[in-house]
Protein backbone atom coordinates (compact mmCIF):
# COMPACT_ATOMS: atom_id res chain seq x y z
CA UNK A 1 0.00 0.00 0.00
CA UNK A 2 2.80 2.41 0.93
CA UNK A 3 4.69 1.68 -2.30
CA UNK A 4 1.43 1.93 -4.29
CA UNK A 5 0.86 5.36 -2.77
CA UNK A 6 4.41 6.58 -3.40
CA UNK A 7 4.18 5.54 -7.07
CA UNK A 8 0.78 7.22 -7.29
CA UNK A 9 2.07 10.44 -5.69
CA UNK A 10 5.04 10.64 -8.06
CA UNK A 11 2.81 9.90 -11.06
CA UNK A 12 0.30 12.52 -9.95
CA UNK A 13 3.00 15.17 -9.37
CA UNK A 14 4.53 14.47 -12.79
CA UNK A 15 1.13 14.47 -14.51
CA UNK A 16 0.15 17.72 -12.77
CA UNK A 17 3.27 19.41 -14.13
CA UNK A 18 2.55 17.92 -17.58
CA UNK A 19 -1.11 18.98 -17.50
CA UNK A 20 -0.18 22.50 -16.43
CA UNK A 21 3.06 22.90 -18.39
CA UNK A 22 2.53 26.59 -19.06
CA UNK A 23 1.82 27.50 -15.43
CA UNK A 24 4.69 25.27 -14.27
CA UNK A 25 7.08 26.93 -16.74
CA UNK A 26 6.07 30.42 -15.60
CA UNK A 27 6.46 29.38 -11.96
CA UNK A 28 9.90 27.88 -12.58
CA UNK A 29 10.88 31.07 -14.47
CA UNK A 30 9.69 33.36 -11.67
CA UNK A 31 11.46 31.32 -9.02
CA UNK A 32 14.55 31.18 -11.24
CA UNK A 33 14.70 34.97 -11.59
CA UNK A 34 14.14 35.48 -7.84
CA UNK A 35 16.95 33.07 -7.03
CA UNK A 36 19.14 34.64 -9.71
CA UNK A 37 18.92 38.01 -7.96
CA UNK A 38 19.83 36.33 -4.70
CA UNK A 39 22.72 34.38 -6.20
CA UNK A 40 24.11 37.50 -7.92
CA UNK A 41 24.17 39.10 -4.48
CA UNK A 42 25.79 35.96 -3.08
CA UNK A 43 28.53 35.93 -5.74
CA UNK A 44 29.30 39.63 -5.23
CA UNK A 45 29.33 39.29 -1.47
CA UNK A 46 31.50 36.18 -1.38
CA UNK A 47 33.99 37.72 -3.84
CA UNK A 48 34.17 40.91 -1.76
CA UNK A 49 34.78 38.73 1.27
CA UNK A 50 37.62 36.98 -0.54
CA UNK A 51 39.16 40.29 -1.56
CA UNK A 52 38.98 41.70 1.96
CA UNK A 53 40.53 38.58 3.44
CA UNK A 54 43.51 39.02 1.10
CA UNK A 55 43.75 42.58 2.37
CA UNK A 56 43.63 41.29 5.92
CA UNK A 57 46.42 38.84 5.15
CA UNK A 58 48.65 41.80 4.32
CA UNK A 59 48.41 43.08 7.87
CA UNK A 60 51.81 42.67 9.53
CA UNK A 61 53.47 43.72 12.74
CA UNK A 62 57.12 44.79 12.64
CA UNK A 63 59.23 44.54 15.82
CA UNK A 64 62.49 46.53 15.61
CA UNK A 65 65.38 45.22 17.70
CA UNK A 66 67.91 47.13 19.72
CA UNK A 67 71.42 47.25 18.26
CA UNK A 68 74.15 44.98 19.54
CA UNK A 69 72.11 41.90 20.49
CA UNK A 70 73.85 38.55 20.39
CA UNK A 71 72.55 35.67 18.25
CA UNK A 72 71.41 33.85 21.38
CA UNK A 73 69.42 36.89 22.46
CA UNK A 74 67.81 37.23 19.01
CA UNK A 75 66.83 33.54 19.03
CA UNK A 76 65.34 33.93 22.49
CA UNK A 77 63.29 36.95 21.32
CA UNK A 78 62.08 34.97 18.30
CA UNK A 79 61.00 32.12 20.58
CA UNK A 80 59.11 34.52 22.81
CA UNK A 81 57.34 36.04 19.80
CA UNK A 82 56.47 32.60 18.43
CA UNK A 83 54.97 31.58 21.75
CA UNK A 84 52.17 34.18 21.37
CA UNK A 85 48.91 32.56 20.21
CA UNK A 86 48.18 35.18 17.49
CA UNK A 87 51.31 34.44 15.49
CA UNK A 88 51.10 32.76 12.09
CA UNK A 89 54.67 33.30 10.90
CA UNK A 90 57.79 35.21 11.92
CA UNK A 91 60.66 36.27 9.62
CA UNK A 92 63.95 37.72 10.88
CA UNK A 93 65.51 40.52 8.84
CA UNK A 94 69.10 41.30 9.88
CA UNK A 95 70.66 44.76 9.80
CA UNK A 96 72.57 43.84 6.64
CA UNK A 97 69.50 42.50 4.87
CA UNK A 98 67.53 45.60 5.90
CA UNK A 99 70.20 47.80 4.33
CA UNK A 100 70.39 45.81 1.13
CA UNK A 101 66.59 45.94 0.79
CA UNK A 102 66.73 49.66 1.44
CA UNK A 103 69.36 50.04 -1.27
CA UNK A 104 67.17 48.02 -3.65
CA UNK A 105 64.16 50.22 -2.92
CA UNK A 106 66.17 53.41 -3.51
CA UNK A 107 68.22 52.10 -6.43
CA UNK A 108 67.48 55.20 -8.52
CA UNK A 109 68.74 57.53 -5.84
CA UNK A 110 71.95 55.74 -4.76
CA UNK A 111 73.55 59.11 -4.07
CA UNK A 112 71.43 59.46 -0.95
CA UNK A 113 73.12 56.44 0.63
CA UNK A 114 76.68 57.53 -0.07
CA UNK A 115 76.89 59.74 3.01
CA UNK A 116 76.01 56.88 5.34
CA UNK A 117 78.92 55.58 7.38
CA UNK A 118 77.77 52.87 9.73
CA UNK A 119 74.58 50.92 8.90
CA UNK A 120 71.87 52.92 10.74
CA UNK A 121 69.04 50.46 10.09
CA UNK A 122 67.88 48.16 12.91
CA UNK A 123 67.31 44.42 12.56
CA UNK A 124 63.62 43.46 12.84
CA UNK A 125 61.06 40.67 12.93
CA UNK A 126 58.23 40.65 10.33
CA UNK A 127 55.24 39.06 12.03
CA UNK A 128 52.13 37.80 10.25
CA UNK A 129 48.95 37.04 12.20
CA UNK A 130 46.48 34.19 12.17
CA UNK A 131 43.12 34.97 10.46
CA UNK A 132 41.15 35.08 13.69
CA UNK A 133 43.39 37.80 15.15
CA UNK A 134 43.50 40.22 12.22
CA UNK A 135 41.44 42.90 13.98
CA UNK A 136 42.56 46.11 15.76
CA UNK A 137 41.76 44.86 19.29
CA UNK A 138 43.81 41.67 19.01
CA UNK A 139 46.65 43.51 17.26
CA UNK A 140 46.81 46.18 20.00
CA UNK A 141 46.93 43.57 22.75
CA UNK A 142 49.71 41.68 20.92
CA UNK A 143 51.67 44.88 20.35
CA UNK A 144 51.48 45.66 24.08
CA UNK A 145 52.94 42.24 24.92
CA UNK A 146 55.64 42.50 22.22
CA UNK A 147 56.77 45.88 23.55
CA UNK A 148 57.47 44.27 26.93
CA UNK A 149 59.91 41.73 25.47
CA UNK A 150 63.46 42.71 26.39
CA UNK A 151 65.51 43.63 23.32
CA UNK A 152 62.59 44.98 21.25
CA UNK A 153 62.92 48.71 20.77
CA UNK A 154 59.79 49.59 18.83
CA UNK A 155 56.71 47.89 17.35
CA UNK A 156 54.88 49.19 14.27
CA UNK A 157 51.74 47.84 12.68
CA UNK A 158 50.22 50.51 10.40
CA UNK A 159 47.60 51.58 12.93
CA UNK A 160 45.61 53.83 10.60
CA UNK A 161 45.39 51.24 7.82
CA UNK A 162 44.26 48.51 10.22
CA UNK A 163 41.58 50.72 11.74
CA UNK A 164 40.28 51.92 8.38
CA UNK A 165 40.20 48.40 7.01
CA UNK A 166 38.45 47.18 10.11
CA UNK A 167 35.70 49.81 9.99
CA UNK A 168 35.28 49.22 6.24
CA UNK A 169 34.88 45.49 6.85
CA UNK A 170 32.34 46.15 9.62
CA UNK A 171 30.39 48.38 7.25
CA UNK A 172 30.57 45.75 4.51
CA UNK A 173 29.33 43.04 6.84
CA UNK A 174 26.36 45.11 8.11
CA UNK A 175 25.44 46.30 4.61
CA UNK A 176 25.74 42.73 3.35
CA UNK A 177 23.52 41.42 6.10
CA UNK A 178 20.85 44.07 5.48
CA UNK A 179 20.85 43.70 1.69
CA UNK A 180 21.14 39.90 1.91
CA UNK A 181 18.36 39.75 4.49
CA UNK A 182 16.03 41.88 2.37
CA UNK A 183 16.77 39.88 -0.79
CA UNK A 184 16.28 36.60 1.10
CA UNK A 185 12.95 37.83 2.43
CA UNK A 186 11.87 38.86 -1.08
CA UNK A 187 12.92 35.46 -2.48
CA UNK A 188 11.04 33.60 0.27
CA UNK A 189 7.88 35.63 -0.38
CA UNK A 190 8.12 35.40 -4.18
CA UNK A 191 8.81 31.66 -4.27
CA UNK A 192 6.26 30.60 -1.67
CA UNK A 193 3.56 32.90 -3.11
CA UNK A 194 4.19 31.77 -6.69
CA UNK A 195 3.83 28.15 -5.61
CA UNK A 196 0.71 29.14 -3.66
CA UNK A 197 -0.82 30.62 -6.81
CA UNK A 198 -0.38 27.34 -8.70
CA UNK A 199 -2.14 25.54 -5.86
CA UNK A 200 -4.85 28.21 -5.70
CA UNK A 201 -5.58 27.67 -9.40
CA UNK A 202 -6.47 24.08 -8.53
CA UNK A 203 -8.44 24.63 -5.33
CA UNK A 204 -11.57 23.21 -6.99
CA UNK A 205 -9.66 20.00 -7.76
CA UNK A 206 -8.66 19.74 -4.11
CA UNK A 207 -12.30 20.12 -3.04
CA UNK A 208 -13.45 17.46 -5.51
CA UNK A 209 -10.74 15.01 -4.39
CA UNK A 210 -11.78 15.46 -0.78
CA UNK A 211 -15.46 14.92 -1.63
CA UNK A 212 -14.60 11.67 -3.40
CA UNK A 213 -13.00 10.34 -0.22
CA UNK A 214 -9.31 11.20 -0.57
CA UNK A 215 -7.48 11.66 2.74
CA UNK A 216 -5.64 14.94 3.33
CA UNK A 217 -2.30 13.26 2.66
CA UNK A 218 -3.50 11.64 -0.55
CA UNK A 219 -4.38 15.11 -1.86
CA UNK A 220 -1.44 16.91 -0.32
CA UNK A 221 1.50 14.64 -1.18
CA UNK A 222 1.51 15.18 -4.98
CA UNK A 223 1.29 18.95 -4.45
CA UNK A 224 4.25 18.82 -2.06
CA UNK A 225 6.32 16.78 -4.53
CA UNK A 226 5.32 19.18 -7.30
CA UNK A 227 6.27 22.18 -5.13
CA UNK A 228 9.67 20.67 -4.39
CA UNK A 229 10.26 19.82 -8.06
CA UNK A 230 9.31 23.33 -9.20
CA UNK A 231 11.45 24.92 -6.46
CA UNK A 232 14.38 22.71 -7.47
CA UNK A 233 14.01 23.48 -11.19
CA UNK A 234 13.72 27.22 -10.43
CA UNK A 235 16.87 27.30 -8.33
CA UNK A 236 18.70 25.09 -10.85
CA UNK A 237 17.69 27.52 -13.59
CA UNK A 238 19.12 30.41 -11.57
CA UNK A 239 22.47 28.61 -11.16
CA UNK A 240 22.63 27.92 -14.93
CA UNK A 241 21.71 31.53 -15.78
CA UNK A 242 24.20 32.81 -13.24
CA UNK A 243 26.94 30.66 -14.75
CA UNK A 244 26.13 32.07 -18.20
CA UNK A 245 26.26 35.65 -16.91
CA UNK A 246 29.46 34.86 -15.01
CA UNK A 247 31.15 33.51 -18.15
CA UNK A 248 30.17 36.61 -20.16
CA UNK A 249 31.45 38.98 -17.46
CA UNK A 250 34.70 37.09 -16.83
CA UNK A 251 35.51 36.95 -20.55
CA UNK A 252 34.75 40.61 -21.09
CA UNK A 253 36.85 41.81 -18.12
CA UNK A 254 40.16 43.40 -19.16
CA UNK A 255 43.14 41.39 -17.88
CA UNK A 256 44.41 44.18 -15.66
CA UNK A 257 41.05 44.58 -13.88
CA UNK A 258 42.34 42.07 -11.37
CA UNK A 259 45.02 44.50 -10.29
CA UNK A 260 42.33 46.90 -9.17
CA UNK A 261 40.99 44.34 -6.72
CA UNK A 262 44.33 42.88 -5.77
CA UNK A 263 43.45 39.52 -7.31
CA UNK A 264 43.15 38.09 -10.78
CA UNK A 265 39.82 36.33 -10.99
CA UNK A 266 36.20 36.58 -9.88
CA UNK A 267 35.25 33.27 -8.30
CA UNK A 268 31.95 31.51 -9.16
CA UNK A 269 29.75 30.24 -6.34
CA UNK A 270 31.37 27.43 -4.35
CA UNK A 271 29.86 23.92 -4.52
CA UNK A 272 28.43 24.17 -0.99
CA UNK A 273 26.76 27.48 -1.96
CA UNK A 274 25.24 25.88 -5.07
CA UNK A 275 23.98 22.89 -3.08
CA UNK A 276 22.51 25.23 -0.44
CA UNK A 277 20.79 27.26 -3.16
CA UNK A 278 19.20 24.11 -4.63
CA UNK A 279 18.12 22.91 -1.18
CA UNK A 280 16.63 26.36 -0.48
CA UNK A 281 14.63 26.06 -3.73
CA UNK A 282 13.31 22.63 -2.75
CA UNK A 283 12.42 23.74 0.78
CA UNK A 284 10.70 26.96 -0.31
CA UNK A 285 8.65 25.05 -2.91
CA UNK A 286 7.69 22.54 -0.25
CA UNK A 287 6.79 25.29 2.21
CA UNK A 288 4.66 27.19 -0.33
CA UNK A 289 2.74 24.03 -1.27
CA UNK A 290 2.32 22.89 2.30
CA UNK A 291 0.83 26.16 3.49
CA UNK A 292 -1.49 26.69 0.54
CA UNK A 293 -2.84 23.15 0.12
CA UNK A 294 -3.60 23.01 3.83
CA UNK A 295 -5.88 26.00 3.43
CA UNK A 296 -8.14 24.25 0.91
CA UNK A 297 -8.35 20.86 2.60
CA UNK A 298 -11.20 21.71 4.95
CA UNK A 299 -14.02 20.23 2.88
Amino acid sequence: MALYNIIHFLEEALNNIRRNTFVAAITVGTIGIAFLIFSIFLIIFSNLNDITSTWKEQIQVVSYLKDGLSNAEIISIEDKIKSEREINSVAFISKEKALSEFRKDLSSQTGLLEGLGENPLPAYFEIRLKKAYQDPKSILSLVDRLKKIKGIEEVQYGQEWVENLSSFLDFLMIAGMIVGGLISLAVILIVSNTVKLTVYARKDDIEIMKLIGATDWFVKAPFLIEGMAIGFLGSLMSVILLFGIYQIIVQSLPLNAGLLFGRFSIAFLSWPDIVLLLIAGVLLGLFGSFVSVGRFLKV
Binding site: M1, D205, I208, L211
Partner: protein, 215 residues
Amino acid sequence: MFHVSKYYDKNFPALRDISLEINKGDFVFVMGPSGAGKSTLLKLIFCAERADEGQILIQGRNIARLSDSKIPYLRRNLGVVFQDYKLLQSRTIYENIAFSLKVCGVSNSEIKRRVYFVLKQVGLEHKSDSFPIRLSGGEQQRAAIARAIVNEPAILIADEPTGNLDYNMSVEIFEILKDINVRGTTVIVATHNREIVSKMQRRIISLDKGKIVSN
Protein backbone atom coordinates in the same frame (compact mmCIF):
# COMPACT_ATOMS: atom_id res chain seq x y z
CA MET B 1 -31.71 11.01 11.60
CA PHE B 2 -32.85 11.96 15.07
CA HIS B 3 -33.64 15.55 16.07
CA VAL B 4 -31.01 16.99 13.74
CA SER B 5 -30.51 20.76 13.58
CA LYS B 6 -28.02 22.85 11.67
CA TYR B 7 -27.42 26.56 12.17
CA TYR B 8 -25.48 28.81 9.80
CA ASP B 9 -27.07 31.73 11.65
CA LYS B 10 -28.12 31.43 15.31
CA ASN B 11 -31.59 32.89 14.67
CA PHE B 12 -32.38 31.13 11.39
CA PRO B 13 -31.61 27.40 11.46
CA ALA B 14 -31.01 25.79 8.07
CA LEU B 15 -32.50 22.58 9.50
CA ARG B 16 -34.66 22.37 12.59
CA ASP B 17 -35.26 19.19 14.58
CA ILE B 18 -35.25 16.82 11.60
CA SER B 19 -36.08 13.18 12.33
CA LEU B 20 -36.45 10.67 9.54
CA GLU B 21 -35.54 7.13 8.59
CA ILE B 22 -34.47 5.84 5.18
CA ASN B 23 -34.31 2.10 4.70
CA LYS B 24 -31.69 0.16 2.79
CA GLY B 25 -32.62 0.00 -0.90
CA ASP B 26 -35.05 2.95 -0.76
CA PHE B 27 -35.35 5.59 -3.47
CA VAL B 28 -36.19 8.91 -1.82
CA PHE B 29 -36.76 12.39 -3.19
CA VAL B 30 -36.04 15.44 -1.04
CA MET B 31 -38.07 18.38 -2.30
CA GLY B 32 -38.82 21.93 -1.34
CA PRO B 33 -38.29 25.53 -2.43
CA SER B 34 -34.84 27.12 -2.63
CA GLY B 35 -33.40 27.66 0.83
CA ALA B 36 -35.63 24.95 2.36
CA GLY B 37 -32.56 23.01 3.54
CA LYS B 38 -32.41 20.21 0.92
CA SER B 39 -28.72 20.61 0.13
CA THR B 40 -27.84 21.04 3.81
CA LEU B 41 -29.67 17.80 4.61
CA LEU B 42 -27.64 15.92 1.99
CA LYS B 43 -24.37 17.61 3.00
CA LEU B 44 -24.86 16.37 6.55
CA ILE B 45 -24.94 12.80 5.22
CA PHE B 46 -21.56 13.06 3.47
CA CYS B 47 -20.14 15.34 6.18
CA ALA B 48 -19.57 18.40 3.97
CA GLU B 49 -21.45 20.08 6.83
CA ARG B 50 -21.66 18.92 10.44
CA ALA B 51 -24.87 18.77 12.46
CA ASP B 52 -25.06 21.13 15.44
CA GLU B 53 -27.60 18.96 17.23
CA GLY B 54 -28.94 15.42 16.92
CA GLN B 55 -27.68 12.10 15.59
CA ILE B 56 -27.26 10.77 12.06
CA LEU B 57 -26.89 7.00 11.93
CA ILE B 58 -25.62 5.24 8.81
CA GLN B 59 -25.52 1.47 9.18
CA GLY B 60 -25.67 1.94 12.95
CA ARG B 61 -22.80 4.45 13.17
CA ASN B 62 -23.36 8.03 14.35
CA ILE B 63 -21.65 10.17 11.73
CA ALA B 64 -22.68 13.45 13.35
CA ARG B 65 -19.76 13.01 15.73
CA LEU B 66 -17.33 11.44 13.25
CA SER B 67 -13.76 12.78 13.59
CA ASP B 68 -12.39 14.72 10.60
CA SER B 69 -9.77 12.05 9.91
CA LYS B 70 -12.48 9.38 9.46
CA ILE B 71 -14.60 11.39 7.01
CA PRO B 72 -12.69 10.21 3.87
CA TYR B 73 -13.44 6.58 4.76
CA LEU B 74 -17.16 7.36 5.16
CA ARG B 75 -17.20 9.12 1.77
CA ARG B 76 -15.71 6.07 0.06
CA ASN B 77 -18.87 4.18 1.02
CA LEU B 78 -21.11 6.91 -0.34
CA GLY B 79 -21.52 8.08 -3.91
CA VAL B 80 -22.25 11.77 -4.36
CA VAL B 81 -23.52 13.51 -7.50
CA PHE B 82 -23.62 17.32 -7.71
CA GLN B 83 -25.57 19.78 -9.82
CA ASP B 84 -22.34 21.21 -11.26
CA TYR B 85 -20.89 17.68 -11.82
CA LYS B 86 -17.61 18.50 -10.04
CA LEU B 87 -15.42 16.69 -12.54
CA LEU B 88 -11.66 17.32 -12.58
CA GLN B 89 -11.35 19.43 -15.73
CA SER B 90 -7.73 18.60 -16.44
CA ARG B 91 -8.39 14.83 -16.47
CA THR B 92 -10.14 12.56 -18.90
CA ILE B 93 -13.43 10.88 -18.02
CA TYR B 94 -11.53 7.63 -17.44
CA GLU B 95 -9.07 9.37 -15.08
CA ASN B 96 -11.91 11.10 -13.23
CA ILE B 97 -13.64 7.82 -12.48
CA ALA B 98 -10.39 5.97 -11.80
CA PHE B 99 -9.45 8.56 -9.17
CA SER B 100 -12.25 7.31 -6.88
CA LEU B 101 -10.71 3.86 -6.97
CA LYS B 102 -7.11 5.04 -6.63
CA VAL B 103 -8.10 6.77 -3.41
CA CYS B 104 -9.04 3.32 -2.06
CA GLY B 105 -5.81 1.68 -3.25
CA VAL B 106 -7.41 -0.50 -5.94
CA SER B 107 -4.92 -2.08 -8.39
CA ASN B 108 -4.59 -0.64 -11.90
CA SER B 109 -5.97 -3.77 -13.62
CA GLU B 110 -9.01 -3.80 -11.32
CA ILE B 111 -9.48 -0.04 -11.88
CA LYS B 112 -9.54 -0.61 -15.64
CA ARG B 113 -12.11 -3.39 -15.37
CA ARG B 114 -14.42 -1.47 -13.05
CA VAL B 115 -14.18 1.89 -14.85
CA TYR B 116 -15.15 0.32 -18.19
CA PHE B 117 -17.99 -1.53 -16.48
CA VAL B 118 -19.56 1.66 -15.07
CA LEU B 119 -18.88 3.63 -18.26
CA LYS B 120 -20.91 1.00 -20.09
CA GLN B 121 -23.62 1.22 -17.46
CA VAL B 122 -24.05 4.99 -18.09
CA GLY B 123 -23.49 4.68 -21.86
CA LEU B 124 -20.20 6.59 -22.04
CA GLU B 125 -17.72 3.87 -22.98
CA HIS B 126 -16.85 5.75 -26.19
CA LYS B 127 -16.00 8.95 -24.25
CA SER B 128 -13.48 7.53 -21.81
CA ASP B 129 -10.55 9.52 -23.26
CA SER B 130 -12.48 12.78 -23.60
CA PHE B 131 -12.01 15.71 -21.27
CA PRO B 132 -15.13 16.95 -19.43
CA ILE B 133 -15.22 20.21 -21.40
CA ARG B 134 -15.80 18.23 -24.64
CA LEU B 135 -18.92 16.57 -23.20
CA SER B 136 -22.52 17.83 -23.08
CA GLY B 137 -24.09 18.58 -19.68
CA GLY B 138 -25.98 15.28 -19.73
CA GLU B 139 -22.82 13.34 -20.58
CA GLN B 140 -20.87 15.10 -17.84
CA GLN B 141 -23.56 14.23 -15.31
CA ARG B 142 -23.54 10.59 -16.46
CA ALA B 143 -19.75 10.58 -15.99
CA ALA B 144 -20.24 12.02 -12.49
CA ILE B 145 -22.77 9.27 -11.73
CA ALA B 146 -20.32 6.65 -13.03
CA ARG B 147 -17.68 8.06 -10.68
CA ALA B 148 -20.15 7.99 -7.78
CA ILE B 149 -21.10 4.33 -8.27
CA VAL B 150 -17.73 2.84 -9.30
CA ASN B 151 -16.94 2.07 -5.64
CA GLU B 152 -20.27 0.22 -5.34
CA PRO B 153 -21.46 2.49 -2.51
CA ALA B 154 -24.33 1.55 -0.21
CA ILE B 155 -25.88 4.99 -0.62
CA LEU B 156 -25.98 7.32 -3.64
CA ILE B 157 -26.69 10.97 -2.87
CA ALA B 158 -27.60 13.32 -5.71
CA ASP B 159 -28.00 17.05 -5.11
CA GLU B 160 -30.05 18.60 -7.93
CA PRO B 161 -28.49 16.24 -10.48
CA THR B 162 -30.67 17.60 -13.30
CA GLY B 163 -30.58 21.26 -12.26
CA ASN B 164 -28.53 22.21 -15.32
CA LEU B 165 -30.15 19.81 -17.81
CA ASP B 166 -33.12 19.93 -20.17
CA TYR B 167 -36.14 17.65 -19.76
CA ASN B 168 -34.99 14.78 -22.00
CA MET B 169 -31.55 14.63 -20.45
CA SER B 170 -33.14 14.80 -16.99
CA VAL B 171 -35.33 11.78 -17.80
CA GLU B 172 -32.21 9.94 -18.94
CA ILE B 173 -30.41 10.73 -15.67
CA PHE B 174 -33.34 9.62 -13.53
CA GLU B 175 -33.54 6.36 -15.51
CA ILE B 176 -29.90 5.68 -14.67
CA LEU B 177 -30.53 6.48 -10.98
CA LYS B 178 -33.53 4.12 -11.05
CA ASP B 179 -31.33 1.35 -12.50
CA ILE B 180 -28.74 1.87 -9.77
CA ASN B 181 -31.47 1.64 -7.15
CA VAL B 182 -32.78 -1.59 -8.67
CA ARG B 183 -29.30 -3.11 -8.18
CA GLY B 184 -29.69 -2.50 -4.41
CA THR B 185 -28.17 0.94 -3.79
CA THR B 186 -30.12 3.35 -1.59
CA VAL B 187 -30.69 6.56 -3.60
CA ILE B 188 -31.44 9.97 -2.10
CA VAL B 189 -32.12 12.77 -4.58
CA ALA B 190 -32.74 16.45 -3.88
CA THR B 191 -34.59 18.00 -6.80
CA HIS B 192 -36.95 20.71 -8.01
CA ASN B 193 -38.18 18.64 -10.91
CA ARG B 194 -41.85 17.99 -9.91
CA GLU B 195 -42.83 16.57 -13.28
CA ILE B 196 -40.36 13.71 -13.22
CA VAL B 197 -40.80 13.12 -9.49
CA SER B 198 -44.55 12.68 -9.85
CA LYS B 199 -44.01 10.27 -12.76
CA MET B 200 -41.60 8.11 -10.77
CA GLN B 201 -43.98 7.56 -7.84
CA ARG B 202 -41.38 7.28 -5.07
CA ARG B 203 -41.24 8.42 -1.47
CA ILE B 204 -40.97 12.23 -1.16
CA ILE B 205 -39.63 14.14 1.85
CA SER B 206 -40.72 17.78 1.61
CA LEU B 207 -38.85 20.49 3.42
CA ASP B 208 -39.71 24.12 4.01
CA LYS B 209 -37.73 26.64 6.05
CA GLY B 210 -35.61 23.84 7.51
CA LYS B 211 -38.53 21.67 8.70
CA ILE B 212 -40.10 18.54 7.29
CA VAL B 213 -43.58 19.44 6.04
CA SER B 214 -44.48 16.05 4.57
CA ASN B 215 -42.87 12.62 4.46
